[in-house]
Symmetry: C2
Subunit: 443 residues, 2 copies
Amino acid sequence: MSTAKQLRLGAFMRPVSIHTGAWRYPGAWPDANFNFAHLKQLAQTLERGRFDAFFMADHLAVLNMPVAALQRSHTVTSFEPFTLLSALAQHTRHIGLVATASTTFDEPFHIARRFASLDHLSEGRAGWNIVTTSNPDAALNFGRDDHMEHDERYARAREFHDVVTGLWDSWADDAFERDVESGRFFDPAKLHVLDHKGKYLSVRGPLHIARPVQGWPVIVQAGASEAGRQLAAETAEAVFAAPGTLAGARSLYADIKGRMRAIGRDPDHLKILPAAFVVVGDTAEEARAIRAKLDSLVHYDSAIASLSVALGHDASKFDPDGPLPDVPETNASQSGRARVIELARSENLTVRQLAQRLGGYGGLAFVGTAQTIADDMQEWLESEGCDGFNVMFPWLPGGLDAFVDKVVPELQRRGIFRREYEGRTLRENLGLPRPGNRFFAQN
Amino acid sequence: MSTAKQLRLGAFMRPVSIHTGAWRYPGAWPDANFNFAHLKQLAQTLERGRFDAFFMADHLAVLNMPVAALQRSHTVTSFEPFTLLSALAQHTRHIGLVATASTTFDEPFHIARRFASLDHLSEGRAGWNIVTTSNPDAALNFGRDDHMEHDERYARAREFHDVVTGLWDSWADDAFERDVESGRFFDPAKLHVLDHKGKYLSVRGPLHIARPVQGWPVIVQAGASEAGRQLAAETAEAVFAAPGTLAGARSLYADIKGRMRAIGRDPDHLKILPAAFVVVGDTAEEARAIRAKLDSLVHYDSAIASLSVALGHDASKFDPDGPLPDVPETNASQSGRARVIELARSENLTVRQLAQRLGGYGGLAFVGTAQTIADDMQEWLESEGCDGFNVMFPWLPGGLDAFVDKVVPELQRRGIFRREYEGRTLRENLGLPRPGNRFFAQN
């Protein structure tokens, strides 16, 4: 095994693909949202490619697009993440299973319980992507007229994290004796009642499920705002970043790892994984042609709606052929909004050009041959731009097959990606320590 | 196929068994709470026995027992139902998968989404056991100091049901066109935004998951109180009843089916399934000996705690050898409490005797040979005491194996239980119609 710094690879998945036009691509599976056999095949292909994790994209509302745009989108429906990942756990043995769960619209008792159960069912492969949910329409599905403000969402998220991890620690790892002779099922000295009373949450506990196999499922965080970076440095073990450039990535990497050092955390105990849209061709021309074909399948109604979502503002009234006008601040994700404005300004894009880019996939993309993609990934890894990537495939299953069959062997040949899984659990494969139980001495 | 009225059989399951002493029984699996391979075997055995449904018992808190009792109990921990049933769906093809979900401590948007997803993943085998959660300790895990009153819980449950079923109807069955040529993924005329604003709940919708395979997952209800019976008559398709005697069962049966007629529902569209603890022996003596052995394995600390839970009152200070004293009314399940008091009075039990009965299993029990058990079941079925049973096994796997290998063939021989599954979905196997979509004409 190589001693070079190793790349970690997550797959950020929607059943049909992240790309809005993908369902129309020749050979794609337009019905994948409710065709479990397809999802099973994708997960097994990812495991063949030695991916660290299957990362299920999620929302808590149909995206707030006008219906004219919405009807173009395959993203309006999907399986619910916990039920899907529990089912996929039965058809895979190594790959991690990462679900998104919102700290704004759910209860810590439910969240702690479901992740613990997924971790037991998968024998230690669960990960929790902590989100605060930036889509204001989600609030309306949960009895609230006004969406909680950004900074307040993050303050609640921090308390929510502490409650969930505290609930996971309800039982010592060796609490369950199951002594048939004495009739004692567990040792009461190894049960802790959390009894949390905080600013946002009041939760007694204990959790009625044994401590997860991994101690805690792996904690993933996505925010890139000031509040999001600090939450990540304090709590995350993987960061789903979305920098547009290597320079931006290196800055984020240095910032988060620096924040970790400042509070005494080992920077190796958090893996920064930028999202990367990867299009593989046998030649660079072929790769570019695949992307061009895909983008051409994005309906303009859908493209302009994606721009509206990203800005938190109706963009359909903008002049399509003019530059992006000034947009008032909203309660949408601040980091996402800033990125869109920066993209328009830096490439001098018209509204139409910007919308079409975003309607396909507007973030970081590696488009080329297995060689050039491996070059890019290696450069990012070795220049401290990242610890790996959350890969998004242009269309499914073909775009994933191409990555696994062409890019993965090239990464392995360079000694920067595993040929076999190192451990049994997601935590072991990512090289993360198993957290101690805050209430009981470690076994 | 016989034209006799057919018995429906659910299995009411805890991983180790319902019986508190079962984990100590020779040959039992004390570690089943977190051993998925065991659960998989149990589900497959139930499917071999042509059971209608695997019905997962659930709570939202560690039961409110003193620690001295709690430490005796294998029921303190378990898998979470949705994650477990989604995983079991991958290892079974016919059996229904029924999960309990609380209308008091969860959000209708989450509940609608998870059941819809389970229904898609299992190709139409999901059922929702609607409970209002009678354990007052659950409130403390969800930020509430006081538990909601009984009648208010049921009023909220009714509204919650209407919201969840409304969300399931967000999309017409044929909403998704996936027309690659035109780029239209769905027909906007076949999408309904619920926009519910009621006394307890405010939920906009739509749900971001296609209409369930069954239209709606099968609706199960368990309450036997006045409010519970009315809710069942209005909304349920299966009732998990708990009468202690055939006379009580016939009275409940006539009452609920009468309430259905009064509101214009077809009484055949609800299956009343009393819970029955079934102990099979090759002789009646052997069956009684199995039960006696099991009850002897219930620790007295645990027995007295079960009595406390049933009464919603600390029973540990009662005179163990005296009769059950008068107990003040509490916010606990009224039907459960009444049943316990009735059991003590009718059999003139001491507190100790009552506690030991409840600590093992205190409800309806059929203890005998395959012949006598089939006699009992047939009598209940044919005298309109029930439409079937929710069977509980004394210990696992042995008690289940005995039922499937001995009782099921006898029921089949009598022509009152299926030899093969009739349909593809839980709804089809139970003989229930597929609900129309309230917002769109049926296809």
